[in-house]
Subunit: 365 residues, 2 copies
């Protein structure tokens, strides 16, 4: 049974490595042949919107899924009913538009920062008045890893940001002062079974995730985030893994964004949970029973950005797991990650801090 | 960096899946293109003795290793010094000949059953007198999974077995009544670093491994087996993973055989140990620091023989891990395995027993 995957980055690669033991095969579609998955599975090379290739992918696959959410929904919709696609296109559409996402959160009673859709100078004026300053002006679409957003401290900032980003549909959001960021990952299968992983605490720098620690936080925070996630999974009649990121203010969660796919903050589940997010995504999109999400200990995941440090300086350490994505080095590029498992949260935190100091000192300044 | 692997069965497949996160690539040599590794890596198709293909494998690989020990040592030796081969050919040669193996055990002070090499009727007469009855007549070479051996209860049996097996060099061994079988797996790298996994208790039926439970047994048994293994690893200046199987009689260990490769009784290490045997084999043959062999809990591994049972009837259970080798069903063929992890040995044993009853009832009769 073959799974078709649009996008051949590290998420696709880790999905394939998780799926082979289940007896699955993989076929990827990517713009380049020089990608993370090239060594581990077959690839169709072409544009994500190429109808002929998408048709071939659909024909040769049991189900089509994604390693990248900014795919063309119109191209996929054109495949018609013959193609089985998961997660559902409606969930992809929501995640591609920050306003639709905020509206969905509102509808489901999930708190968010105040916001306003911006499509004109007049709407920006109204937004500055209603939402207030400081704020963040963002493109509604195609933003990731902090790209396409500007923090706005004054009316002048707002106009400069508007000039810089105009041409794209925009959203203006209240600037949220938060204590820290968390994310929650869960899966739902066709039959409606839902599993939720322990909460992740995330540290970003320059808009890129640097460190995730899980399980994290008080049971009340976990319960609250899990409730929000379940509500979204059920509402969307979701199939696959879904991630929601939140800002934490005291005991309050403010939903920031969703990712309708396996997520960087869930990489620790490969070694740190009874079933990895990659395996549960595959199980979910195929309607298989989901696997337990219990943590095996206390995990920390550190992203390796730009280039890999010397592997052999790290891998001799106890329960320290190396993940090289097979990508060429480039500034700001995620080229790998490492995960450590510890027996207590305190030990985990101490080791994570010391590792981060060795690997990515700037991120903990 | 590419690893060349002779043999493309499930052991090679699991090595590749373990090696990709380390940033390694793989190239296999196998007689068929329809093999376990075909989907996950590139394969050269031809005989294991094909000099041209072996040269190509050597040229394109950093180091050559094996998923199958009955390779032609002469063909590999002919590659000369240009090819880096691990484990060392001397260790392969020992494991291919039951008499050489027994001699090595003797030299290293590792107890074995009494035995005699058989190359004539006269030597069989002497062996029956010196070793006694009952016994087992075995081919010295190419035996695995119980093939090429006959249990002998009487002198008549011995002559019938001799007639049946003659033409091959033989060994006659004392028939050992034992309480149970164990195996121990460890790795040594080029720098002389050695790691040893917890002891495995193994259940065979019809010569095929059915169930492994690990960690197993009293610390004294573990220490004794580990001492024997370390002695062999050091004596052979070994690079890679080595397995030794023992019969247990009370507190006594009798070495039965070695496998100079990752071993079926170590499959539980994928989920059940801090570093899997597959990853440690790769680290060892590349001279990388070895990973910790600490058990993460109490594991049981059950082989799936002949054909796979219904996957979805099992994978919903907590910490139950499915491994489909991508092979076609055939009586007596290892087509997959499953591993369960539990928090106590008693729970592990109870669950393993119940699983075995569902999957392979004949094996626990």
């Amino acid at each position: 049974m073959t799974i078709g995957i649009v996008g051949g980055g590290q998420l696709g690669r880790m999905m394939a490595l998780a799926g082979y033991p289940l007896g699955l095969d993989f076929l990827f579609l990517d713009r380049s042949a020089d990608i993370s998955v090239a060594k581990v599975a077959s690839t169709l090379v072409g544009e994500f919107t190429d109808k002929k290739l998408l048709c071939e992918l659909a024909r040769r696959s049991e189900v089509i899924t994604f390693d990248w959410e900014n795919v063309s929904i119109d191209s996929l919709r054109a495949l018609g009913r013959s193609a089985s696609i998961a997660p559902p296109l409606a969930a992809l559409a929501v995640s591609q538009d920050r306003v639709a996402e905020k509206k969905l959160f509102g509808k489901l009673g999930i708190p968010t920062a105040r916001y306003a859709a911006i499509d004109s100078q007049a709407s920006l004026v109204r937004a500055l008045r209603d939402v207030g300053l400081p704020g963040v002006l963002k493109t509604r679409r195609l933003g990731y890893d902090g790209k396409g957003q500007v923090v706005v401290h004054s009316i002048e900032d707002a106009w400069l940001a508007f000039e810089r980003l105009r041409g794209s549909p925009l959203i203006y959001e209240e600037f949220v002062s938060f204590d820290f960021e968390v994310s929650i990952i869960g899966a739902r299968n066709r039959q409606g079974e839902i599993v939720v992983y322990p909460l992740n605490r995330n540290l970003h720098r320059d808009g890129i995730l640097r460190l995730t620690r899980a399980p994290w936080g008080a049971p009340a925070l976990q319960r609250s985030a899990a409730t929000h996630l379940r509500r979204a999974l059920e509402h969307l009649r979701y199939e696959g893994v879904l991630n929601i990121e939140f800002f934490v203010q005291g005991r309050r969660l403010l939903a920031n964004e969703t990712a309708p796919r396996v997520h960087n903050s869930g990489h620790w589940t490969i070694e740190g949970a009874a079933t990895s997010q990659f395996e549960n995504h595959l199980r979910a999109i195929l309607g298989m029973p989901l696997g337990a999400t219990t943590a095996r200990g206390h995990a920390a995941m550190i992203n390796l950005i730009g280039s890999l440090p010397s592997r052999d300086a790290f891998i001799g350490e106890h329960e320290l797991h190396w993940h090289d994505y097979g990508k060429t080095a480039r500034a700001g590029r995620k080229v790998g990650h490492l995960t450590l498992l510890e027996t207590t949260a305190a030990r985990r935190d101490a080791r994570a801090c010391s590792l981060l100091r060795r690997i990515d000192p700037a991120s903990i300044r």
